[in-house]
Structures are given as C-alpha cells and as structure tokens.
C-alpha cells in the first residue's frame, strides 16, 4: 500500500511505499534505456532478458502500490474531479501505464512465446518495440509528475 505510517526517505511528504516505488521505477527506467543499447549492439538475448525482467517485475509495484492507491484515492472521485491536477495527473499516468504494461506483455508474448496464433503476431519488430519504449518513458515522466503533485507541497505553490 502507498498509505502507511512509515515516513519516506526522499525528503518529501511521501510515505515509504511511495518513495520506494519511485526509486524502483527510476531504476527500471534506467534498465530499459540500457536494454535499448543492448539491442543496438545486437545483443538480442541480453536485450530480451533485460526488457522481460523489467516488464514482469513491474507487475509487483502495480499490484501492491499503484492499483490500491488509485482505487482508494483517485477512482471514487475521478469522474467529478478530473479537472483537478491531483486526479488528472494520476488518471493520465494510469491510462498510459496500463497501455504500456499491456502492450509490453503483448510484445513479450509475440517475441518470447508461441502462445498467440499467427494472425495476432506482428512481423515488424522495431516499430512495436519503439512504441513500447516511448510509451514507457511517457509513463515514467507522468509517474514523476504524479509524485510531485501528490507529495511535494513546495513545488505546488
């Protein structure tokens, strides 16, 4: 849960869960950027392991931190409060994040398994992977934005 009594370690008003989540997401972002360099160096096996690890590991913070927080603090008032920065930034992050995670899982299933029928499999890899990478970076930026709006009062004034 993002809620709790434990204080965070990044010097903002966020709790430990939120700070840990942001730190993990930044490390994952760096790992993804590293993964693109592996692909450019034609080290495709290492690239696949790197991207898959990040994609699968990210399911944990989504399930443990982000979804419960979104469900408790944003979803109940989203429809009537979407004009407010607090809800809008979280909604944008939620939509982009869901799209990035689902697209990533799709790319992983096409690239790493034979689970999908031929008709559902793409042939051109680069556009899909570049789209996924761009989406993930947008998610990372919107996540940082969400953290700032939610937990840093000095930056809001």
């Amino acid at each position: 849960m993002i809620e709790g009594a434990a204080k965070g370690f990044l010097g903002t008003s966020a709790g430990f869960g939120a700070d840990l989540n942001l730190t993990i997401q930044l490390i994952m972002g760096v790992a993804l950027i590293g993964g693109t360099f592996l692909a450019r160096a034609k080290r495709y096996a290492a690239h696949g392991v790197c991207m898959t690890t990040v994609l699968v590991l990210n399911l944990a913070p989504i399930a443990v931190v982000m979804l419960p927080s979104f469900g408790q603090l944003v979803l109940p008032r989203l429809a009537s409060h979407l004009h407010k920065r607090y809800y809008a930034v979280a909604a944008v992050h939620g939509v982009l994040g869901s799209a990035a995670e689902l697209l990533g899982l799709y790319v992983l299933m096409v690239a790493g398994t034979n689970m999908l029928p031929e008709a559902w499999r793409f042939k051109r890899w680069k556009p899909w992977m570049r789209l996924e990478f761009a989406l993930w970076m947008a998610v990372l930026l919107s996540g940082i934005g969400t953290y700032i709006v939610w937990y840093t009062p000095l930056w809001r004034r």
């Binding site: 993002i2 009594a5 407010k84 939610w150």
Partner: protein, 119 residues
C-alpha cells in the same frame, strides 16, 4: 399582623433559597451540556495540521477540515479513529469520550502528524 409579616418573610426566604438552588442547578446543567457539546476545529493546509497539538475536555468533538487541494486522511495509529480520504473542504469529526493522548497522522503523507490531549 406581626405573625402574618413573619410568615411572609419566611415564605419569601424559602422561595429565595429554592430559586437560588434551581439557578445553581440550572447553570451546572448548562455547563455540563456545554462541556458535552464542546467542539474544536483543526485545519489541514499546506500539508500540515493546524494547530498541531490541541488540549480539550472529555466529550469534545474535534473536526478536521481539509483546505489543501490534495486529499489527506486523519488516522490514529492505534485505530481509534480513521477518516476516509478528505478532498478539498471535506470534513471529518470524532468525539473524544476518554481522557488520554491521541496521536494521529495522514496516511498518504506520514510526515503530517498531530496530537490531541484529552483531559
């Protein structure tokens, strides 16, 4: 005639005593009711509770009002009270029926803490 005057004086005295007793009793009831319905308010603004520490009498109802533009909560670590997420201008009230010291915090922003002392 003398006897009559004495009776009047005695009756007046008794009436005075009864009236005084009634007034004292009434004021005690009023004070008790006042204490019972005592109220205090704590504002939430710029990620802090103001005042941070409050001392109140037993039976006081404290109301927290969120003036921030982000949601906050009011949570007792020992689960004596817990608000839902309070959006801008939302309120949460709790009546303190037992003496003691009650710490609380915002579960979204644990850096925000406060204390209620009930005497």
């Amino acid at each position: 005639m003398k006897r009559y005057i004495r009776n009047v004086v005695v009756c007046a005295g008794l009436l005075g005593v009864v009236a005084s007793a009634a007034m004292i009793h009434g004021s005690q009831i009023a004070r008790a009711a006042e204490e019972k319905n005592a109220a205090a308010s704590i504002t939430i603004d710029n990620f802090s509770f103001t005042p941070k520490e409050v001392t109140v009498a037993v039976g006081t109802t404290i109301t927290w009002v969120n003036h921030d533009d982000v949601p906050h909560t009011v949570v007792s670590p020992d689960k004596k009270f817990r608000s839902k997420a309070l959006d801008t201008d939302d309120q949460f009230s709790f009546t303190f029926t037992d003496a003691g010291t009650y710490n609380y915090f915002c579960s979204v922003h644990p850096i925000m803490t406060g204390k209620i002392i009930v005497k």
